[in-house]
């Protein structure tokens, strides 16, 4: 490697470190500023809480182990709704692809349901599915399923016609075309829909927890609001922020691994 190339590589590396440093600095400054403002009573600590109170709350929860029950609950609901959503999405997309008339018939309904703010259905879901985990999963599915179906189905439709023609010339059945061409060719679309799906699922789960649950991070936040304990609310949001970031990173890693 030439000296010049080494220099450029080093410069690029330094730039990367600098970016990370600035990012970290922003986070630290944000918390420090928040703490100072709350401490000096420039902002009302009762309404805005403060980082020290939040960290203390999270620390106490961690020591007592209570927080893990909530994290576990939210995580469990999210993974369950995510897996069901993707599986059902894939199955329904295959059905629509195999039966174009069915696809045409339900197309306006899909669009309609997709444009409806699903939270409006919350009260009905509670009455139908009961005030339990089931309601939360249904809520999450309502939000992630339609998007999954549409994404995967559109991926199927995007498959190269020539390749379908080729397989037909070999006498391929519909099932074979699906197995040897449509599914592998849409793998990338399916995988990229995982990322959208996980974000949607998390929205649904938190929304569901707001409505019914007795456990989970969504519950912590809504409970904190009800008793006007803003430190509780902020702690819940902070944990959720970290959790959703980690889940997203996991799915992004999965995506990289699969493709």
């Amino acid at each position: 490697m030439s000296e010049e190339a080494k220099k450029i590589i080093k410069k690029k590396k330094n730039q990367k470190y600098l970016i990370h440093f600035i990012q970290l600095l922003i986070v630290v400054l944000f918390f420090v500023l928040w703490e100072i403002l709350a401490n000096q009573k420039i902002i009302n600590p009762f309404i805005f809480s403060s980082p020290s109170r939040i960290f203390k709350t999270i620390y106490t929860w961690t020591i007592s182990g209570e927080i893990f029950i909530h994290i576990y609950t939210t995580l469990y609901e999210t993974i369950l709704a995510f897996v069901i959503g993707i599986t059902l999405g894939l199955i329904i997309a295959i059905m629509l692809y195999e039966c174009p008339i069915l696809a045409k018939i339900i197309d306006p309904f899909l669009t309609m349901i997709n444009s409806l703010p699903k939270v409006a259905l919350g009260p009905i879901i509670i009455i139908w599915a009961g005030a339990n985990t089931k309601s939360i999963i249904v809520m999450a599915l309502l939000i992630n399923l339609i998007v999954s179906i549409m994404n995967i189905y559109n991926g199927f439709l995007g498959v190269d016609e020539t390749k379908i023609k080729l397989l037909k010339s070999f006498g391929a059945t519909k099932k074979q075309i699906l197995r040897y061409l449509i599914i592998p060719e849409s793998k990338r679309t399916i995988i990229s829909s995982l990322k959208i799906n996980i974000s949607m699922t998390l929205i649904g789960v938190i929304m569901g927890e707001f409505l019914v649950s007795k456990k989970g991070i969504g519950y912590l936040i809504i409970y904190g609001t009800q008793v006007f304990n803003l430190t509780l609310v902020m702690s819940g949001i902070l944990i959720l922020l970290i959790l959703s970031f980690l889940i997203y990173e996991c799915v992004a890693y999965l995506e990289k691994k699969l493709s």
Binding site: D160, K163, L167, Y180, P184
Partner: protein, 249 residues
């Protein structure tokens, strides 16, 4: 003469939401065993539809075609190589056998022998993106030959290639077809390609197409396509077909 295929009064209409479009009016043609027949016609005249019908992908509106062989195997090659990027070149070549559930050890060996024969052996475990356009088209041909077709249908197989690889690959393909002695129907809009490769040329009229003229290509010293382009009769055929096609630019 050894007749392999009779096409009898094939007619094809496409029905859209609004109208009925007549693509093929009436085509009757017989194909002899071992010959290369090229169908030329202006674009959109319905020549590709004819191949689709023969390949069993589309149905004719009326008319029929008869193979003088039981359960004929049809090899179909398209404009693009249509190789699957997630499979290796070798796996791609096996796809036809897999679909017809004939991927026996013996047939796999045959495919390997084709790779050896056409000097692509060292690329067998590579992925399509690592191959040049010409190589990919040769793999597509091996994929077609793997099912041991009785007749080969080539739908403008070289049109996606640049001019130089086009000449080289058409030369290759021609040699392979002749060596394996496979009856071939090719569709092309390239007159020079048609003259250099075929035993007969069928000129189609504009849509709805019928057969306008059939030329038996007789070149002195008929060799491979690149050499054939130098034959003295070449330009004669070219001019005649050009006139038949009545191309308005």
């Amino acid at each position: 003469m050894n007749n392999l295929l009779n096409i009898l009064h094939i007619k094809k209409n496409y029905i859209t939401d609004k109208e009925e479009i007549e693509a093929i009016k009436d085509i009757t043609l017989s194909i002899e065993k071992g010959e290369i027949v090229t169908i030329v016609g202006s674009s959109g005249c319905g020549k590709s539809s004819l191949l689709s019908i023969l390949a069993g992908i589309e149905k004719a509106t009326s008319g029929t075609f008869l193979f003088h062989k039981e359960n004929p195997i049809i090899g179909y090659m398209l404009q693009s190589d249509a190789l699957f990027p997630w499979l290796t070149v070798y796996e791609n070549a096996l796809i036809g056998l897999k679909i017809s559930k004939k991927d026996t050890l013996e047939n796999k060996e045959y495919v390997k022998s084709l790779f050896r024969k056409y000097k692509l052996e060292e690329f067998m475990n590579k992925y399509p993106k690592e191959l040049s356009g010409g190589m990919k088209q040769r793999v597509a041909l091996i994929r077609t030959l793997a099912i041991k077709p009785d007749i080969l249908l080539l739908d403008e197989p070289f049109s996606a290639l640049d001019y130089q690889s086009r000449l080289a690959v058409s030369d290759d393909v021609y040699n392979i077809i002749k060596r394996e002695n496979i009856t071939t129907i090719m569709v092309s809009h390239d007159i020079a390609e048609a003259i250099s490769m075929s035993d007969r040329i069928v000129v189609l009229s504009k849509r709805p197409c019928t057969i306008k003229k059939i030329y038996i290509v007789e070149l002195e010293n008929k060799q491979n396509p690149i050499e054939n382009r130098k034959a003295k009769e070449f330009s004669d055929y070219y001019n005649k077909i050009w006139k038949d096609l009545d191309i308005n630019v």
